[in-house]
Amino acid sequence: MNIIFHIIKKEFIQFRQDKKMFIVSFFAPVFQLLILGYAATFDVSKIPMAVCDFDNSPSSRTLIRNFTSTEYFRVVGYYDKTSEIDNQLDDGHASIAVVIPRGFEKKMGAGQSAPLQVIADGTETSSATIGLNYAFVIVSRYSQNIVLESLIKRGSVMMPARLSTEFRIWYNPDLKSRNFMVPGVLGLLLMVMTMILTSLAIVKEKELGTLEQLVVTPIKPYQLIIGKLAPFFVIGVIDVILVVFFASVVFSLPVKGGVLLLLGLSLIFLMTTLGLGLFISTISRTQQQAMMTAIFFFMMPMVFFSGFVFPIENMPTIIQYISYLIPLRYYFVIVRGLFLKGVGMSILWTQALALLIFGSVILSLSVMRFQKRLG
């Protein structure tokens, strides 16, 4: 016990003496949270729109006003040649363009269908799709109103029946992708902080030769492992608290399901990341190797297959099965459930159990491998 204490104490002295490590462990998580919270968003608003109104009639102006009165579009300029619109799209000044041909109002007045052109920049697929959807909704609502108005004007007695759907979105009513991202960032941060830092800290001792020196002392492998992992466990817990604090203060995103439950389940998740860190340290000779292994063989696949960026349901079946092997996947369900839905253990126990199994298996395999390497 005493020996473990001495190792932990040494780790903390080294940690305190290394300003860079301090910044990486505590400042970087907050920084990353803020950046991802603000910048990493799929929400589409204020789409730059170029307008080419050849009709220039009250009807065409009303239609354009329907666009600009929403927060989804902002007009970057009015043009009277289609070639100028092409330029705007080419330059990227505008992502969408609306062209209203001459005779728009006249055709509508005559009860004919009035054509309207909407051009979207498709290089960014998701933004373009979303922008076009908004445009479609605005235009159809506009045409519905016109039909209604003309019916009323004609004094029609019979009002056409209308279906009205009321949409209600649960858990994230504003559909803000920030609310989806911020809890995810917690999972990423914990993995980076604990997995990479743990493997680096152990491999560093290998490089320096101090690990060999420790092995010739009467120290037991388990004491060494606990002593080396404990500090990163503590850093992980502090990072959870930091993220929870900033998420609720800066992004008004409290942990609806309870901070303690989040902390408890995070501890289970930390078992997997610390175990992987230990494992990486057993297969790497140098810190560079450890870093590359951690990033390319563990981090990247995990980020892509865990549902952090792309929804797992949209992935090919095989990859969906692979994703079951990624602990981060379960942790994402947990953090999003706790942050957004406010669900409890009754729902999350399967994820918790999966993490617990993964954590125990990874940690014990790594410990065995580490001990064998030392022996």
Binding site: Q14, D18, V215, V216, P218
Partner: protein, 335 residues
């Protein structure tokens, strides 16, 4: 001043204990795949002596020392250290040895004192006894007043002595040093050997590997290791007696390479080897060899500056042994 506490009672209780020998290796072998790094090496190290393991790089010195310290498991054979079996009782072995390698395994981002505190803690030292040991280590390393310096700021000699201090804080009866003087200046090397003698006088058994011949001369007993095989053991004087059958001459002349070639062709020449600008010829003990050498060289118009018979150095012994070993091995292959 009693700095070294003996652990005699423990050894007497241990059935395997051998009070005379601190280290006993019996056909110790280590294979890495097909490569045999250490090949059935047997030797005994007397308590309190300085045992030098001498050999070229890659001969198996470090592998042997790493097996004895419990860092590697032997493939075959056994060894005991302080009476404990290295394979079965490695924890006991580790508690009774100090180990220092060429890399001076210190934490560079910790201060002198923090390094000592850490290793002291690992060895379970505390209280007054630890304070004493800490003071001793700092004094021994010549680091008084530098306790708060980072280890990375220390020069080679200091680091070496601090590393030594850290590895013997727990007063081990046996000390293993794996090329301890690599990358250290000659003055520091000299000081370091003084420390080793000092420890040896206090009863510590020192097992040291080196490829420096002058260091080997300082040892009580030397084991010559070559290609994983222990080819000779004995005190420096005993080893030199191996060359009693030969006379060794140092030759200074104009074309040493040609001269060596010529002399190697003589029936009375055993070996030639280059030493700086001169070379050594070992000849079978025949009368007038010195004259014969100068005659051969003169006949071939090589100007000799000086030919003198010398007392063989360990290097001569080593070169001779290696040549013999190579010859024997070639013989084996041709069989």
């Amino acid at each position: 001043m009693k700095l070294w506490v003996g652990k005699k009672e423990k050894q007497i209780n241990n059935a395997q204990s051998d009070l005379e020998y601190a280290v006993v290796a019996d056909r110790l072998t280590k294979k890495f795949g097909k490569f045999i790094a250490v090949d059935h090496v047997s030797f005994k190290v007397k308590r309190g002596e300085v045992f030098g393991f001498l050999g070229p790089n890659g001969a198996g010195k470090s592998t042997t020392i790493r097996m004895l310290c419990g860092l590697l498991l032997p493939t075959e054979g056994t060894a005991s250290v302080d009476g404990f079996d290295i394979a079965k009782q490695s924890d006991d072995v580790k508690a009774h040895i100090g180990y220092m390698s060429q890399r001076f395994s210190l934490y560079e981002d910790l201060t002198v004192e923090q390094n000592i505190n850490f290793y002291g803690g690992i060895y379970g030292l505390d209280g007054k006894h630890f304070e004493e040991r800490k003071r001793w280590a700092i004094e021994m390393a010549g680091l008084i007043g530098k306790e708060t310096m980072l280890a990375q700021a220390l020069s080679g000699g200091w680091r070496q002595r601090l590393a030594l201090g850290c590895s013997i804080l727990h007063e081990p009866p046996i000390l293993f040093l794996d090329e301890p003087t690599g990358g250290v200046d000659p003055v520091s090397r000299r000081n370091f050997w003084d420390l080793i003698y000092d420890l040896s006088h206090r009863g510590v058994t020192v097992f040291v590997t080196t490829h420096y011949m002058d260091e080997a001369e300082h040892c009580n007993t030397i084991g010559l290791i070559y290609n994983g095989k222990l080819i000779a053991t004995g005190s420096p004087t005993e080893l030199k007696h191996n060359l009693d059958r030969y006379s060794i001459f140092e030759v200074h002349c104009t074309q040493p390479v040609d001269a060596m070639e010529l002399l190697r062709g003589q029936t009375w020449t055993a070996e030639t080897s280059i030493f700086g600008s001169a070379f050594h010829v070992s000849t079978f003990n025949e009368p007038d060899t010195q004259k014969k050498i100068s005659q051969v060289l003169a006949k071939n118009k090589i100007q000799t500056e000086r030919i003198e018979q010398i007392i063989p150095s360990l290097e001569d012994v080593f070169i001779h042994m290696i040549a013999e070993e190579d010859a024997r091995k070639d013989g084996d292959i041709h069989l």
